[in-house]
């Protein structure tokens, strides 16, 4: 297996990047999922989102990706002196519960499309080969994804992080279904990204062998009930 550290087109990310939020809250289906969430990460940070089932890890990641609005609080994405109110689509990658793969397409076709979608250019054959080899998928590149086992499919989804170079990684349960060997690879990949100045926010129930902080979503559950006072 190749060294995940040597990702082609490797860059050192800007060290002045900072993502932070204060007093953030989010509602979903009329319910307060979390509130009063404060956090700050900067270039080179790894944050593990922990918390009970239903505590809002996935929800928080979807808020960060811009799918859901924060109902409250202040979110900022600072790039040196530039301050934005949302992450820039050019700067992050997201992997969610579903893997976003087309079952009819081969792994190669899926990967090619993903790279084109995110960067506008097709990946070089060696870049693609290397990205596949990170999670040991080299031999499966020309197989349709529908014949993959669950773990292989999940690895195919994780391949994006080795394929497209972006500073911020939002990962929802990246360890699910991975065997021991591939969990180690994932940890290595994250460590390498940290070293490049990347930022990783990963929601997971499994321990991860990466130095970093933990953000416990259980701490931001609504203490007193949601009362939208306007309505009473």
């Amino acid at each position: 297996m190749m060294d995940p550290l040597t990702i082609p087109g490797d860059v050192k990310f800007s060290s002045s990047v900072r993502v932070s939020g204060s007093a953030l809250a989010c509602r979903r289906g009329g319910r307060q999922v979390f509130e009063n969430l404060n956090f700050a990460v900067q270039a080179g940070d790894f944050v593990r989102l922990s918390g009970k089932n239903g505590s809002g890890k996935s929800t928080f990641l979807r808020c960060l990706a811009g799918f859901l609005p924060f109902q409250n609080g202040e979110f900022s994405y600072c790039h040196g002196d530039d301050v934005h109110r949302a992450l820039n689509p050019d700067d992050f990658l997201l992997s969610g519960h579903q893997n976003g793969l087309k079952p009819n397409f081969t792994l190669r076709e899926n990967a090619k499309f993903f790279a084109k979608l995110m960067t506008g250019t097709a990946p070089r054959a060696d870049t693609l080969g290397h990205a596949a080899s990170v999670f040991g998928l080299g031999a499966l590149l020309n197989e349709p994804v529908q014949y993959f086992s669950s773990g292989q499919r999940h690895r195919a989804a994780l391949m994006r992080f080795a394929l497209v170079s972006r500073q911020v990684w939002l990962m929802d349960e990246p360890t699910v279904g991975l065997d021991a060997e591939n969990r180690a690879v994932l940890a290595q990949l994250i460590v390498a990204h940290k070293a490049r100045g990347g930022i990783i926010i990963a929601a997971t129930h499994d321990p991860m062998d990466v130095p970093g902080d933990t953000l416990d979503m259980d701490a931001f559950q609504t203490r007193n009930s949601v009362v939208d006072e306007d309505w009473l």
């Binding site: 289906g29 009329g30 559950q221 609504t222 009930s225 949601v226 009362v227 939208d228 309505w231 009473l232």
Partner: protein, 244 residues
């Protein structure tokens, strides 16, 4: 703007207006129906069947008016995220559907003696039918999505798409020469209709309008109270953390 964002404030305002609106509605319907069925002459051409007009025409006007109300509420809800605007659209739409159905039914009943058929596929009739389906779609979207906020915004998008239909209804009779007659009251160069028919028509239009205000405010209050109740119930259900 945000003075009305407060549902409590709105409730109080509605409580003030409602009795007056109900009074106006009763008076106008009384006078309008009296004029329409007893105190106006039969048409020299259409005979007694002209009286359908006093039901049909205001219903058609209000069908379009209500749609514009719904669309304006939708626009406000989408652009300014005004919480009451969503409910305003929801409160108005069923009334609009009723007006549209009434216009269609009376039109069909009137069409039999006038044109010799209940239905022709001309621009006016077709576009009103489409309006009816738009109301149904709007209400169905509200029903189909459980998250109220989301449901309301989805329905609002549809309502705005459907605005295209309104000018088609209005001007279809001018664009295509069809069986349906062109506007004679609401036109740039003033009404071309006889005064003896204009009076009951305007009275009935006023009555429909008052009826709309009553139903609209009533349903708004209902929706606000329902929302209050569900907020309160949620507050109770999720009171202590991890109560499961």
């Amino acid at each position: 703007m945000h003075r009305f964002a407060n549902p409590a404030q709105f409730n109080r305002l509605a409580d003030v207006i409602l009795p007056w609106a109900i009074g106006a509605m009763v008076l106008l319907f009384g006078a309008g129906l009296y004029y329409a069925f007893w105190a106006s002459p039969p048409d020299y051409q259409q005979g007694e069947s002209v009286r359908v007009m006093y039901i049909h025409v205001p219903a058609a006007w209000l069908a379009m008016f209500t749609y514009m109300v719904t669309a304006a509420a939708s626009f406000t809800a989408l652009v300014w995220r005004h919480p009451l605007a969503l409910l305003a659209g929801k409160a108005a739409a069923p009334a609009g559907a009723v007006f549209t159905a009434l216009a269609l039914l009376t039109g069909m009943l009137w069409g039999k003696p006038m044109w010799g058929t209940f239905w022709v596929w001309d621009g006016r009739l077709t576009s009103v039918l489409v309006l009816f389906f738009l109301y149904l779609g709007y209400m169905a979207l509200w029903q189909a999505i459980d998250d109220e906020e989301k449901a309301g915004r989805a329905a609002s998008i549809l309502a705005l798409v459907g605005v295209v239909n309104i000018p088609i209804i209005k001007f279809s009779v001018d664009w295509w020469s069809t069986l349906h007659q062109p506007a004679s009251v609401i036109r740039l160069d003033g009404p071309t209709i006889d005064g003896s028919m204009l009076t009951p028509l305007l009275l009935m239009a006023g009555a429909y309008q008052a009826y709309f205000v009553v139903v609209f405010l009533w349903r708004m209050k209902l929706e606000i109270n329902r929302r209050k109740l569900s907020v309160a119930r949620q507050a109770m259900m999720h009171a202590p953390v991890g109560a499961e």
